[in-house]
Every structure is written in structure tokens, then in C-alpha cells.
């Protein structure tokens, strides 16, 4: 899921690593194989093998009853108002065991209308226990061809919802990020290490529910926080993290929280200004140094 690749020689002597694309594909395959009631439905998921080839081979393997190509349709209202709220409104009677999976975030050069959609839950290609409640799993477009971590290759690997992951422990400052920015944060941590700053990186993974406990626990340890996200600052994930840390861990902070986010503009197409619209590794390094008063 990140820019990090860990090659592990697995039991049978072959090197295990795969792209996020393949990891997503194998996750879908595993879920459909394990439970015959699991079906896949969406635009181009069947014959086209998925808009980004994520559902490659699934139609052939599971047949048209379980892998359904749909015509175009608008789902956002139903995701928010029907899927997300039905269990609540019916006091638990109606369950909606659906995972809405899609590509999200900024990809390179796709312009203003294809660069920002709203994202609720960020997850990896791992299995998800969507027993009763729907969740929206989005993988960032530009990461689709990145490398998945080795743990994710294990078929029983299951990601708990609502739990962040400490990608890298550190002493001086905590950096929170998710998806592509988590990869950037790790790169920034490496650069900062050379400058004598030990930066911790927390990969949020779950946006809602947000793992406030983990964030606060680790901020109380390092006393400094930098939040990084691709989305807009206002009403963003970083804003919520700041609020949470301000409420729970105010006395532990040695510096104001640094919040890095995308520029408050529609995404431009030209590569030079597109790059300026989103946080880059050097922005994270700079902000982290600021948080450390350097």
C-alpha cells in the first residue's frame, strides 16, 4: 500500500511481493472464494476486468451471476443515506454488508474533476469484516501500481477497522498520514533521521472511525505532531486530529500542531502547478522541522 517493499522469502522458497493492484485482486478473489454469498457489482468490473484491472479474472472464475457489470449510475446519495444509515435507523434490523471500493485521491494529470472525491475509509487490500455494516474502501489511484506489504500477502490477513498502524517509531515528533501520504511521510522520516530528528509515522488506515487513542498515546510520547493529507485543510482529517489532540493531550504538546494539506483549489492539469497543489516530501520535512523548532 505504501512506497515500501518488503521482500520475504515465503515457505516455498519464492520471493513474495506484489503490487497493490494484484493485492486488491487477490483480496477480492479470496473473499469471493470463501463465501458464495459475496458478489461484485459495478461499472466495468466484469468483462473489462475492472477499470484499473482490479477485478481481473473474477468474471471467468465466478461467472456472470456473481460478477455483474452495471450500467452507469450515481451512488453517492445511496452510500450516504441508505447504506450508511439503515442499520441505525432500523435499530439494527436492517444490515448492509457492502464494501464500496474505488480509486480515489489525486492521480497524475487527471485534472480538477477526477482528483478529489470524498473518502470515508481508507483501507488496504486486506479482508474486511463487513458483517453487517457497510464500509467504503478506497485505494489511491496513484498507488495502484505500488508494492503491497508482505503481511498483506497472507490470505488470513485481516485489517481491523478503526485501528491505525505505527509504521515507524520515533522519539521527537509524530507524523500522522494515510495512503500515499504515509509513504511520503516515511520518506520524510528517513531524510529527517539524517538531520538528527527521530520522526514517528502513524498510518491512520481508518478515517472513520479515526483511531484517536493511538494518535493521542503517541503524541503524548513525542509531544509534537504533524498531520499530512492530500485533501483540503478545511474540514479535513488533519483538522479533526488537531481538535482531538487539542482536547485530549493539550498539556503534552511542546509545539503547535502542524497540519499539511492540499491547496484549497481545484486540481490544475499542468504538472508544475499540479505538484504544488499537493503535499510533497519536502513540505513534510519542512513542517516537521518547524514543529521541532528547527
Amino acid at each position: 500500500m505504501l512506497g515500501v517493499t518488503r521482500h520475504i522469502v515465503a515457505g516455498r522458497g519464492f520471493a513474495a511481493s506484489m503490487t497493490v493492484l494484484d493485492a486488491l485482486n487477490s483480496a477480492l478473489d479470496e473473499e469471493m472464494s470463501a463465501d458464495p454469498k459475496v458478489s461484485l457489482m459495478g461499472e466495468e468490473v466484469g468483462e473489462y476486468q475492472g477499470a484499473y484491472k482490479i477485478s481481473k479474472g473474477l468474471l471467468d472464475k465466478y461467472g456472470p451471476d456473481r460478477v455483474c457489470d452495471t450500467p452507469i449510475n450515481e451512488a453517492m446519495d445511496h452510500i450516504i443515506n441508505s447504506a450508511a444509515k439503515s442499520n441505525y435507523m432500523s435499530a439494527g434490523m436492517i444490515s448492509v454488508p457492502v464494501v464500496f471500493r474505488g480509486p480515489n485521491g489525486a492521480a497524475a494529470g487527471v485534472g480538477a474533476q477526477h482528483s478529489r472525491l470524498c473518502y470515508i475509509n481508507d483501507g488496504g487490500p486486506e479482508r474486511r469484516d463487513a458483517d453487517e455494516l457497510p464500509c467504503m474502501a478506497v485505494s489511491f489511484k496513484s498507488l495502484t501500481w505500488g508494492k503491497a506489504t508482505a503481511e498483506a500477502l497472507d490470505s488470513s490477513f485481516c485489517l481491523p477497522i478503526g485501528k491505525a498502524k505505527i509504521e515507524h517509531e520515533g522519539k521527537d515528533v509524530t507524523i500522522t498520514a494515510f495512503s500515499k501520504m504515509a509513504g511520503y511521510a516515511l520518506e520524510a522520516a528517513e531524510i529527517l533521521e539524517k538531520d538528527g530528528i527521530s520522526a514517528e509515522v502513524i498510518n491512520l488506515r481508518s478515517i472513520r472511525p479515526l483511531d484517536r487513542t493511538t494518535i493521542n498515546t503517541y503524541v503524548r510520547k513525542t509531544n509534537r505532531l504533524v498531520s499530512v493529507e492530500e485533501g483540503f485543510a478545511q474540514h479535513g482529517v488533519g483538522a479533526e486530529i488537531c481538535a482531538s489532540v487539542g482536547e485530549e493531550s493539550f498539556e503534552y504538546l511542546d509545539a503547535p500542531v502542524e497540519s499539511i494539506s492540499g491547496a484549497d483549489v481545484p486540481t490544475p492539469y499542468a504538472p508544475n502547478i499540479e505538484r504544488m497543489a499537493f503535499p510533497q516530501v519536502e513540505d513534510i520535512v519542512r513542517a516537521t522541522k518547524r514543529a521541532c523548532y528547527r
Partner: protein
């Protein structure tokens, strides 16, 4: 074949007959707006709740030559864009229109620049038809200052307001309600102008289309909904996406016309007819039966969901440029060599525009923050 060269200033054309017996110097053909040539569309129109227009149309050598050059230019531009994309000078999404040129050119021939056109993301050729230049197109594709959107829009967001072109939209079907809004403005201002809102066979199933159509019909807006049916919504064939792929009938209470979208004269006739209709009666749907040679976008080879035979079959039987070439040759308006020379000229034009576009710099960093708020107020 014996060739008789005559200077056009000495000899007037035979009154009502075709120019086939006289061999004209090429330059006079392109100016010849007087000689009447009658053509027939490849197939008759099919109407839904409306009597279709006739399939015979009058044209002139000048018009035929213009159609040829315009379509050749569009074709060349798209093919050049393919190479630029492969050389990574164009990034992101790039949806090419080659094969569909007759729709852009035929429509333009029937209307004025005060009429509006709005379309989706397969917009490069419509932009050209509305008066956009090759330089503006290539510069935009490469994200440069000289681009029609100053490099900020990209392939899917070309605009030309002074040419009546309102984009260039990425979200499937969203341009149709916007187009009905343009028609609303035209009616409100009591102009005698109309709006053509283009969409594809995939978008034809979008709910917002029907919502907008309902309102347009209720208020008698001068809106012409044009379904560019190239038979594939991305990788999904029309019969797998629509219970009723007779898109010209999908308006139900709104009349419709099915048109051979590979025949520039059919397109012109239909658009002319539609414009007259909507100014008096409210919306109409035109279904253009067309075809794209490329895949959905540059990341789609276009051959996993359709056969190469099908693609080459259409190219052989229905190519819009070849159709005009045959007409020009059969009416002796120009020779094969002359047409090939034109194509060479067009190729040169395109190559020059590309070099110029490459010279254009990327936008200033300050452009990141312009055009967000009024007078750039408050953007930090």
C-alpha cells in the same frame, strides 16, 4: 481520362449539371460556392414522434472541400495526440475522437457560433470546430500557457466561450443538465439560438439526463440532446448497458431522430432540422450512429471488448473522410493527388502547431491560486 483545363474566369459552369465534365483547377473548387451538387445521405433518417427531414441535400464544391480539410485536420490532430501521449508529453486522461469527425463538422455546418455546444471529455475536435486552434489544443494537452485553458484544464476541460463552446466535462452525463441551462439562458434572452448538448451511449442511462430533459420539455427550451452513440460505454457494449439502445426514442414524449453519424451530410441535415424544430417546439434528441477507432482513452487498447475486424470493417465501409473523398473524386472537384497534398499540408500544420506548443512555457506558479474566488479574494 481526358483532362480539360479551363480557367474558371473564362468559362461558367453548365447551368444545373454537375461539374463532372469540366476539369477545374483546384483553387477554384475551394471557392466554388455556386455549383450545386445534390447528394443523398447513406441511409434515410428514422424519426420518433416526428416526420424526419429528407435525405437529399444540396452542397457545393466549396463545402465538400471544406468538409474534407476540416475532418482531415481533426483526424490528424487526434493521431498526433496519440503519439504525444505515448511520448508522455500528454498526461492523465486522453480520449480521442478519430472516427467521429463527421459529427463535429456536420453540426458546425448547420449552426452559428452564437448557438452553443457542450460536450463531455472527448472534446478536442468539437473545440476545433468551434474555432479553436491547433496550437491552443496541443498546448492545453501539454499543460502549457498557450493552451485554451492556460494549461489548467487538460484534455477533458477545453473551452471556447467566444465560439459558443462550453466544454469539456469529466463527469459522465453532467454536461447535459448544464446544456439545458444554456438553452434556458438563450430562451430567457429571447435569442434565436439553440444549444447542442452532446453525450455518449454510456451517459444515455444517467438519471440526470432525464431530469434535465423533463424540465427542458416542460419549459420548451431550445435544447438539442445529441447522443454520440459509438456503441461502447468505455468497455461495455450498448446492448449490455441499455434495455433500450434506441437512444433516439429514449426521450419518450420528446421527439427524436436517428442519424448516420459517419455521414457529414446526414449530420448537417439533422442539426439544421433540429435547430428549426427546437426554436418552435422545445427539445429534441438526435442519435448519431458513430464509431471511435481508438479505445475509450489512451489507457484502453479498445480491442478487448470488440474485434479488430469490426474496427477495420467500419474503417473500410463507413469512414467519414473516405466518404467525402469519394464524393469529391466522383464529382471531379479535385484529384487524388490534390487531396493527398491537402493531407500533407494538414500534417504540416499539425506538426508546426505541436512545435509551437512545445515552446510555450508551463503556467506561472501563481496560476495555482487564480480563478478560485472573485478577484482572487482570500485564497491563501
Amino acid at each position: 481520362m481526358s483532362l480539360i483545363h479551363r480557367s474558371s474566369s473564362l468559362l461558367k459552369p453548365l447551368a444545373a449539371g454537375p461539374a463532372s465534365l469540366l476539369r477545374r483547377p483546384f483553387s477554384s473548387a475551394t471557392d466554388d460556392d455556386a455549383t450545386k451538387i445534390t447528394v443523398e445521405t447513406s441511409v434515410p433518417f428514422t424519426g420518433h414522434r416526428i416526420d424526419p427531414p429528407p435525405r437529399t441535400i444540396d452542397t457545393t464544391p466549396k463545402e465538400l472541400m471544406t468538409f474534407f480539410v476540416d475532418m482531415a485536420r481533426m483526424r490528424r490532430m487526434e493521431i498526433a495526440a496519440d503519439s504525444l501521449y505515448k511520448s508522455k508529453l500528454i498526461r492523465g486522461f486522453c480520449h480521442l475522437y478519430d472516427g467521429q469527425e463527421a459529427v463535429a463538422v456536420g453540426m458546425e455546418a448547420a449552426i452559428t457560433r452564437k448557438d452553443c455546444i457542450i460536450t463531455a471529455y472527448r472534446d478536442h475536435c468539437i473545440f476545433l470546430g468551434r474555432g479553436g486552434t491547433l496550437l491552443e489544443a496541443f498546448a492545453e494537452l501539454m499543460g502549457r500557457k498557450a493552451g485554451c485553458s492556460k494549461g489548467k484544464g487538460g484534455s477533458m476541460h477545453f473551452y471556447k466561450k467566444n465560439g459558443g463552446f462550453y466544454g469539456g466535462h469529466g463527469i459522465v452525463g453532467a454536461q447535459v443538465p448544464l446544456g439545458c441551462g444554456l438553452a434556458f439562458a438563450q430562451k430567457y434572452s429571447k435569442e434565436d439560438h439553440v444549444t447542442f448538448a452532446l453525450y455518449g451511449d454510456g451517459a444515455a442511462n444517467q438519471g440526470q439526463l432525464f431530469e434535465a430533459l423533463n424540465m427542458a420539455a416542460l419549459w420548451d427550451l431550445p435544447a438539442i440532446l445529441v447522443c454520440e452513440n459509438n456503441h461502447y460505454g468505455m468497455g461495455t457494449a450498448e446492448w449490455r448497458a441499455a434495455k433500450s439502445p434506441a437512444y433516439y426514442k429514449r426521450g419518450d414524449y420528446v421527439p427524436g431522430l436517428k442519424v448516420d453519424g459517419m455521414d457529414v451530410f446526414a449530420v448537417k441535415q439533422a442539426c439544421k432540422f433540429a435547430k428549426e424544430h427546437v426554436l418552435k417546439n422545445g427539445p429534441i434528441i438526435l442519435e448519431m450512429d458513430t464509431y471511435r477507432y481508438h479505445g475509450h482513452s489512451m489507457s484502453d487498447p479498445g480491442s478487448t471488448y470488440r474485434t479488430r475486424d469490426e474496427i477495420s470493417g467500419v474503417r473500410q465501409e463507413r469512414d467519414p473522410i473516405e466518404r467525402i473523398r469519394k464524393l469529391i473524386l466522383s464529382h471531379d472537384i479535385a484529384t487524388e493527388k490534390e487531396l493527398k497534398d491537402i493531407e500533407k499540408e494538414v500534417r504540416k500544420e499539425v506538426d508546426e502547431a505541436i512545435s509551437q506548443a512545445k515552446e510555450s512555457p508551463m503556467p506561472e506558479p501563481s496560476e495555482l491560486f487564480t480563478n478560485v474566488y472573485v478577484k482572487d479574494h482570500g485564497v491563501e
